[in-house]
């Protein structure tokens, strides 16, 4: 599974780099620097709960129900907005509708690429829905997604990805949440060839 995840990450980074380079009209390299699998209740320490972030949330359905959530810390969202709408660096201090729309498009690109590749590698149907945007406290944004999961399951699988746009090094977080039982069932055939932390997590969860 970890090899599969690695494969998904590498392909997704390449595809997202190409797509974002076209969107921004300059070379951008998306690097997925960290992937972690966490229980949903361990998610919050990622960023302080009161820290203001831009959150782009895409519901996921198909063979598996879940959520894709892209998080940019406030300053990163401002820098990224300057790039996306071609303003002088340091211009954005408040997000306009245009900025929001551009950031949602980034969410679409990153999530769409990742989920398409995940779908191909795992041979499952994954449908990504339209992006929803919030610019507010990290804890408030994430807890709403967690709460939606808590209605159906006590545990969820969280794939946490930290990525970097080069040459600038903005960091963002891409969280994929799936109901654990569904995910385990789906991965049944893959766990046998898996190794390391993900397998251990799935077996002990």
């Amino acid at each position: 599974m970890e090899n599969k995840l690695q494969e998904v990450n590498e392909q997704a980074a390449v595809n997202a780099s190409d797509a974002l380079s076209k969107l921004i009209d300059r070379q951008v390299e998306v690097e997925i620097s960290r992937t972690e699998v966490k229980k949903v209740e361990d998610l919050s320490p990622l960023i302080g709960p009161e820290e203001i972030v831009a959150g782009i949330y895409l519901p996921v359905t198909g063979d598996i129900n879940g959520a894709a959530l892209l998080i940019f810390p406030k300053e990163t969202a401002f820098v990224l907005s300057d790039l996306l709408v071609k303003r002088e660096p340091g211009t954005t201090h408040k997000l306009s509708e245009l900025d929001t729309s551009a950031l949602k498009e980034v969410g679409n690109i990153i999530s769409g690429n990742y989920l398409t590749i995940l779908s191909n590698v795992l041979q499952i149907k994954i449908i990504e829905h339209i992006p929803n945007f919030s610019f507010d406290m990290f804890g408030a944004i994430v807890s709403q997604i967690i709460t939606a999961f808590a209605q159906n399951t006590e545990k969820a699988l969280v794939i946490e990805i930290e990525f970097t746009f080069k040459p600038e090094t903005f960091k963002g977080y891409f969280l994929l949440l799936f109901e654990l039982e569904q995910f385990k069932a789906m991965l049944g055939s893959l766990v046998g060839v898996a190794g390391g932390g993900v397998k251990a997590f799935l077996e002990t969860s």
Binding site: E50, I52, I130, D136, M137, A140, S143
Partner: protein, 178 residues
């Protein structure tokens, strides 16, 4: 010293410290205050109604902070955080039952209690979610059933909130983004 109450937990306090909880979105914070005894309780709930309505499964976490109190004077057991088992007090109805149980065990009378509700947002206005609204409606209904007055609300909308609650004055301070 402030005592943080995490998502899905409740805390009951009879000392001078404030209860705080941050990043409240669709979740609902319920505070109960007894002005006569100057004790209070805070719940950071996530969902409206427990599927089993079982309240027997409460796991108490510690809470003696006396050793950390600056002078130790008149500071006994300050707070009792109840149930880190998220499957219990994450529900509005269970959390209110548990808070009442703890408050009454400290001598509080229901007729004296004052409730405040904070949260119940929908952080993604373009996404149709009723969780926040349902939390608020459930809390109003439950408190009415239990005979508790609601004296203040800061609910709904699409913004995150952080909450600070003083059990000695009953004052709730709500922080928002700007």
């Amino acid at each position: 010293m402030d005592i943080e109450v995490h998502m899905g937990d409740i805390a009951v306090i009879d000392g001078p410290h404030n209860l705080i909880t941050s990043g409240v979105g669709s979740c609902l914070v319920v505070t109960l205050y007894d002005p006569k005894l100057q004790i209070g309780a805070l719940a950071h709930t996530m969902l409206p109604l427990s599927p089993m309505q079982s309240t027997e499964h409460d796991t108490r976490l510690s809470g003696s902070l006396s050793s950390e109190a600056p002078f130790g004077r008149q500071t006994c057991i300050v707070a009792e955080q109840v149930s880190a088992k998220v499957e219990d007090t994450k529900y509005v109805d269970v959390a209110i039952d548990q808070m009442l149980k703890r408050m009454e065990s400290k001598g509080a009378k229901r007729k004296d209690l004052e409730a405040k509700l904070i949260g119940g947002s929908n952080m993604f206005p373009s996404f149709n979610s009723d969780i926040g609204k349902d939390n608020v409606l459930r809390a109003r209904d439950k408190l009415k059933t239990e005979g508790i007055r609601i004296v203040g609300e800061c609910v709904g909308g699409s913004q995150g909130r952080s909450v600070e609650f003083s059990p000695t004055t009953g004052v709730v301070t709500v922080k928002i983004k700007f």
